[in-house]
């Protein structure tokens, strides 16, 4: 048996000044063999990223430090190396690909130069030889037209292309170890499938050992050879992919896998109640020419979007980034003004209503946003955030507080927590608060714009349950925007698939999933990672029995 590329033994990383715990990771031991992909899976705070940063000696200075254990790269101990010695390792023998290809590349430097920088640092090649190597590696990651791409700036590339540039940068010197930290999390499913394929291909061709960090079991089932499950800084269990996915031993692993929503939608009774929202040929275009921008181009963010949502019904809009799904949501909430078309809310067209006439209707449409860390004002207590809306509409302070207390109970939080501030809550709790804030306005239509995308799977399931239970309790019409087909399958009565501003397909969820009509829908579904993963485990049905 060959020697391992990476051998981490009893690694402990201490948090300076403590926190809720003394160590970010404790006694972590794992190995990566040449040509092997080891997936480290865990929820936020599990220490999976800290592990990878420790290997690269990139732990944030003054906050985290290695306090015990050993890291061996091809038998060479890294923990005792000085920073200059580590610099010779980084980029050359161990390289890294990060989550956000948009922010991980320097926005003001040409892509080719950023790849060439690795060669400048670690080799004596002259400019011409560097250029040849750069074009070579860009070709090998299947970037179209490398000569032109090398001259491009990151913002001129698509997300997938940027991630290919990152991978090219990481692999240009053929490192023994590649660390990929959530490399596909920020990408659309179709792009994700391509990038996973690329990583697999490069790794096989170069016999690279890959430490692949992810929170997504779908991705794990696509790419892993072996799986390491982490929770709160410790390794819970590790084994081959088949062992972990098919027969997890630990309760935590079982719970994580069970929490992954299935791609098979449950049977749902069609809803025939009265229509709450109807959009008719809704259009939104951005841009145009002006004196200072004579070359301004027109972007059609939404084109002729027409759909209905009935009381007590959840309509999902699924699509990739740039498909226009958020634009539609924002038009309906009149956060942006539609260019043309009708938005009928209980048979009143609000599409072109003046701000003053619109005001009474505002309360009837409420939104829960994606990022619970940024959608609540950090300087106001959650109570203030919840009562602000109703009081703007004339509810006396005492009654508003009473309503807020009731709602806190409803979303599963203590009414006494109203005086606390957003940073004192976890992500899932904050999303519950955001839901309570929306409900305080007594809306008829609740819009969720990727409301569970920033949450861990275990928390995600709970928030989905909550959303479904408030829909039933208040007989709400719900517009649910998501890129996640698994989530859509579980929570939506009907779904509309959007591509480049156009609804390409719409229908009852079960029909669309079982028998997609449009080519794009089919492409989208076939790209979803971990196909059949839900069936095999037999889990992943979110229990949507009302919790209230």
């Amino acid at each position: 048996m060959a020697a391992p590329v990476l051998e981490v033994t009893n690694l402990t990383v201490a948090i300076a000044g403590g926190g809720d715990r003394a160590n970010a990771i404790e006694n972590v031991s794992l190995t990566v063999m040449p040509g092997e992909i080891v997936c480290v899976v865990g929820e936020s705070g599990s220490g999976k990223s800290v592990t990878s940063q420790a290997v690269m000696a990139l732990l944030p200075k003054g906050q985290l430090r290695i306090s015990g254990g050993s890291i061996k790269l091809e038998g060479d101990e890294l923990t005792t190396k000085s920073q200059p010695a580590m610099r010779a390792v980084r980029g050359k023998r161990a390289a890294m690909v990060f989550q956000e290809p948009m922010t991980a590349l320097n926005p003001v430097e040409r892509c080719g130069d950023q790849i060439a920088e690795v060669l400048e640092i670690h080799t004596d090649l002259d400019a011409k030889a560097r250029r040849a190597r750069v074009l070579d590696v860009m070709r090998s990651v299947h970037l179209p037209d490398p000569e032109q791409m090398a001259e491009a700036y990151p913002h001129q590339l698509s997300g997938g292309q940027r991630q290919r540039v990152m991978i090219a940068m990481a692999l240009v010197l053929d490192p023994a170890l590649l660390i990929a930290d959530e490399p596909t999390t920020a990408l659309d499913v179709t792009t994700q499938a391509q990038i996973l394929k690329l990583i697999r291909e490069m790794q096989v061709r170069r016999n690279t050992g890959v430490l692949f960090i992810t929170h997504d079991f779908g991705v794990v089932s696509e790419i892993a050879d072996r799986v390491v499950v982490m929770q709160r800084g410790r390794i819970v269990e590790q084994g081959t992919k088949a062992e972990i996915l098919a027969a997890p031993r630990e309760a935590y692993t079982q719970m994580l896998i069970a929490a992954v929503p299935s791609l098979v939608p449950p049977v749902r009774v069609p809803i025939t109640s009265q229509v709450t929202l109807e959009t008719i040929k809704l259009n939104k275009t951005y841009g145009g020419r002006s004196f200072f921008k004579p070359s301004g181009r027109v972007v059609k963010a939404a084109t002729d979007v027409s759909f209905q949502i009935r009381r007590g019904e959840t309509l999902g809009i699924v699509g990739e980034s740039g498909s226009g799904k958020s634009t539609v949501a924002r038009c309906i909430a009149r956060l942006v003004d539609p260019t043309s078309g009708r938005i009928d809310l209980d048979d009143v067209d609000i599409a072109r209503m003046s701000e003053r006439k619109l005001r009474p209707y505002r309360r009837r449409v409420q939104i829960v946003f994606q990022d619970p860390y940024r959608s609540l004002n950090p300087r106001r207590s959650v109570g203030q955030s919840i009562i602000e809306g109703p009081m703007n509409f004339g509810l006396p302070h005492g009654e508003a507080i009473e309503r807020a207390r009731n709602l806190m109970g409803l979303v599963g939080l203590s009414p006494d927590a109203l005086d606390r501030f957003p940073h004192q809550f976890s992500g899932g709790q904050r999303q519950r608060i955001a839901i309570a804030r929306a409900l305080a306005m007594e809306p008829v239509l609740l819009i969720g714009d990727e409301p569970v995308s920033a949450l861990d799977v275990s928390v995600q399931a709970q928030v989905l349950q909550l959303l479904d239970s408030v829909r039933k309790k208040f007989d709400l019409a719900v517009l649910f925007i998501t890129h996640d087909l698994r989530v859509a399958a579980q929570i939506c009565d009907r779904i509309a698939v959007m591509q480049r501003g156009v609804v390409v397909e719409t229908g009852p969820t079960a029909n669309v999933f079982a028998n997609p009509q449009h080519d794009y829908t089919r492409a989208l579904f076939s790209a979803a990672p971990g196909q059949g993963f839900g069936h095999r485990i037999g889990a992943g049905k979110i229990d949507l029995v009302p919790a209230v």
């Binding site: 610099r87 980084r90 980029g91 390289a95 590349l105 003001v108 670690h122 200072f292």
Partner: protein, 313 residues
Amino acid sequence: MIAFIIRRLLATIPVMLVVAIFVFLMLRLTPSDPAAIIAGDNATAEQVADIRNKLGLNEPIVTQFFIWGSKILRGDLGESFFFKKTVAELISDRIEPTLSLSLFTILLAVMVAVPLGVLAAKRHGSIVDRMVMGFSVMGFSVPVFVIGYSLIYVFASELRWFPTTGYRRIHDGAGPWAYYLVLPTLTLSVVYIALIARMTRTSMLEVLSEDYVRTARAKGQIERKVLFRHALRNAAVPIVTVIGLGIALLIGGVVVTESVYSIPGLGRLTVEAVLARDFPVIQAVILMFSFVYVLINLLVDLVYSLLDPRIRY
């Protein structure tokens, strides 16, 4: 790009027109009669009337504006009441000291402040950082003339390293010219060093936590290049903004500094002209500084697009 520059230059026309109207009205709206000022205290009523005629002050105000405006466009800025010279001559006499002082000040400020700011950001929270910040607060709060007189006291009167006051033209040798400008430059640059260092630090702190800085480290790049190649260029836009604003605001500092060091520049000319109510000179100076301000703004915008490829006009 060239189309942008042309459009922006065209856009300066309305701005300059507004400034010109303001400057013109300033003279007409003052209670005193310019003709009486020119004629002096001992003039007879006929003399004043004669001057009024000659200056065209009896024409309708719109006609007067066009006559005045067309003269300005031909480069005729009028004649100073007080110095008995043409304004154009006066300004060309006085512009060299001011330009020299401004240029030295900005150069010194940028060369000192940017590295200081980078260092403070790099060693965020350390003693170096606190010293830079302390200096910056001091630089803001101590008035220019206090700094000026203190420097004169220490380096000119006591140590006798530099002359106390005065100015030597570059025409008479670059050595003396630079030598005489050392103290004035130091005096004037303190506040700009404070301002630019602070901005650099803040902007760098923001950028240093960006992912691409981590990427650069993951490539094995040395820290100096991480800071200057990757971080500083990304942090540069707000820094350039402040430098641009700084140049525009220099005129205030120049007035005081030139007075402290008896430098015969535009700043002192402005003070003298205001005290003497020498309107043609005041008008010319305001017009000139407005134009410079507009040009600097254009320049700053162009520098933005050089620094950041995402900014395209």
